[in-house]
Amino acid sequence: MESNPVALITGCSTGIGYETALLLGQNGYRVFATLRDLKRSAALKKAANGLPLEIIPMDVDRSPSVKKAIASVLRKAGRIDVLVNNAGWGAFGAMEEFSDEEIQAQYETNVFGLLRVTRAVLPIMRRQEQGRIINIGSLAGKMTFAGIGLYCSSKYAVEAITESLRFEVRPFNIEVALVEPGTIRTPFKTNRRKSKVFLEKSSVYQKELERILFFGNNPPASAPGPDQVAEKVHEALQDRRMAIRYPVGRDAVWLPRIRWFMPDFLYDFVVKARYAQFRKESA
């Protein structure tokens, strides 16, 4: 009898990670859902009642924590077939005004954390000669938006990581892909950390940033929810061969394409119009 494929998903307390853990649990995967703070696991624990889903602590910022979590998965399941790198958050503020520490912290989770988990899982997948890694990227990995420049840059890096890693691990029958949500109705608001300068209201960009924050906090009702991102992850896992990118939402599909053909001034105009639409829908 073939046992269920084992999936390891990071950052499962809310949003995309939470939905993905449940969906894969319902679809025949043995899921190990990790989160940094076990105190925030109540909701997932309740929703996962009866599913083959285990919650384990993992702080992707810390090497020992990552190693310990992966060792415990191996002890319990003996293998890891799927890794979903979802853990991440978004820094908010002007590029100029982030401190060294704030920049480091953003990269520590979104980039170095993703690499830490991936690099720990790769030897296991190589031994199995089989494995799939899905990185949760973002539309922000293809286009940069004002106010979240630092976050965008971390997602750009994830694009490069995915593309280069695909080449490196292909001979071992390991596949890597990106799922790229655009604007999503997710509790990303709670996953946002504002720069100190902005919080102190001493930013020279204060007014502009307040305006951007307003739009960020009010995604249009038509935007897909985190459950649709989870479905895309599942869809990618079912594909015979994973593509590089799986965009989620109309903006994620079209904006990067439009961007390429547009001169800068026209693009700025479109972005402004899109913001205006957000304002109307949320009014």
Partner: protein, 282 residues
């Protein structure tokens, strides 16, 4: 741009930095050329005898060093008109073969270092109501190749940082742009660092590493002379406003266009032809 302008070039002791410093000095700019290692600053001191070139010590990895150098320039000149963020290096190795420290070192210089200098200079430029920041990216900023994953990741990120700064800087008259050179004959390959494990023979990726190394060396041996880079930099200095991105030679432009025109799968298949070890089926 007014030739009396004050230019700050980071990592100016070799390669693009040195070539640019020399070219701008010949045009009469006042060039503050930073170096990290005094041992390797000889060329700069020689230039400083003939031109208005001022070598200055700066380690972009260190906050104190960056802030001290920028303060020093501002004290002497009162302004910085152009910043060229050039300091950077290549860390080579497959993702799994590199240590955490290797990867962080790559980001520390190529990305965090660039941001550190930019953040130190930006307030002065805003006060001036004018300024130009030129980030030196790479074609690896839109084309990720194996073995150069960390390098690509930093250059992809620089790409995004440029765009964000461009949006933020525009209302203040600060123009931020990026130049993406492809293979140009500098000693970037000789200066590349490699993870300890990469060539130790204990890695499962060794055959791939060797294949990729040969491929890279071959490409760089056929690279363009550094003059094509300098020519583009001079154009960037004159352009007002600048374009979002500058490429320096025709084959880079072709690559860039293909990158955006081709669907992902076709692009990957095409680039994969260059790396037989991991060739993708179409």
């Amino acid at each position: 741009m007014n030739p009396a302008s004050v230019v700050l070039v980071t990592g100016a002791n070799s390669g693009f930095g040195l070539a640019t410093t020399q070219a701008l000095a010949e045009k009469g700019y006042r060039v503050y050329a930073t170096y990290r290692s005094p041992r390797k600053s000889g060329h700069l001191w020689q230039l400083s005898k003939r031109y208005r070139v001022f070598p200055i010590l700066m380690d972009v990895d260190k906050k104190v060093s960056v802030e001290r150098a920028v303060k020093q320039i501002l004290k002497k000149e009162g302004r910085i008109d152009v910043l060229m963020n050039n300091a950077g290096f290549v860390m080579a190795g497959c993702w799994e073969d590199l240590s955490e420290a290797d990867i962080e070192a790559q980001f520390q210089t190529n990305l965090f270092g660039l941001l550190r200098v930019t953040r130190a200079v930006m307030p002065a430029m805003r006060r001036q109501g004018s300024g130009k920041i030129i980030n030196v990216g790479s074609i690896a900023g839109f084309m990720a190749t194996p073995l150069l994953g960390p390098y690509s990741a930093t250059k992809f990120a620089v790409n995004s940082v440029t765009e964000a700064l461009r949006m933020e800087g525009r209302p203040w008259g600060v123009d931020v742009t990026e130049i993406n050179p492809g293979e140009v004959q500098t000693n970037v390959v000789q200066n590349a660092r490699m993870g300890k494990k990469v060539k130790s023979g204990t890695s499962a990726y060794t055959p791939f590493t060797l294949e990729m190394e040969n491929w890279q060396k071959g490409r760089f041996a056929k690279g363009a002379p550094v003059e094509v880079f300098v020519k583009t930099i001079l154009k960037v200095l004159e352009d007002r406003p600048t374009r979002r991105r500058y490429l320096v030679k025709m084959d880079d432009r072709i690559l860039y266009t293909l990158r955006w025109l081709l669907p992902d799968a076709l692009w990957e298949w095409g680039t994969g032809l260059m790396f037989p070890w991991s060739r993708f089926p179409l």
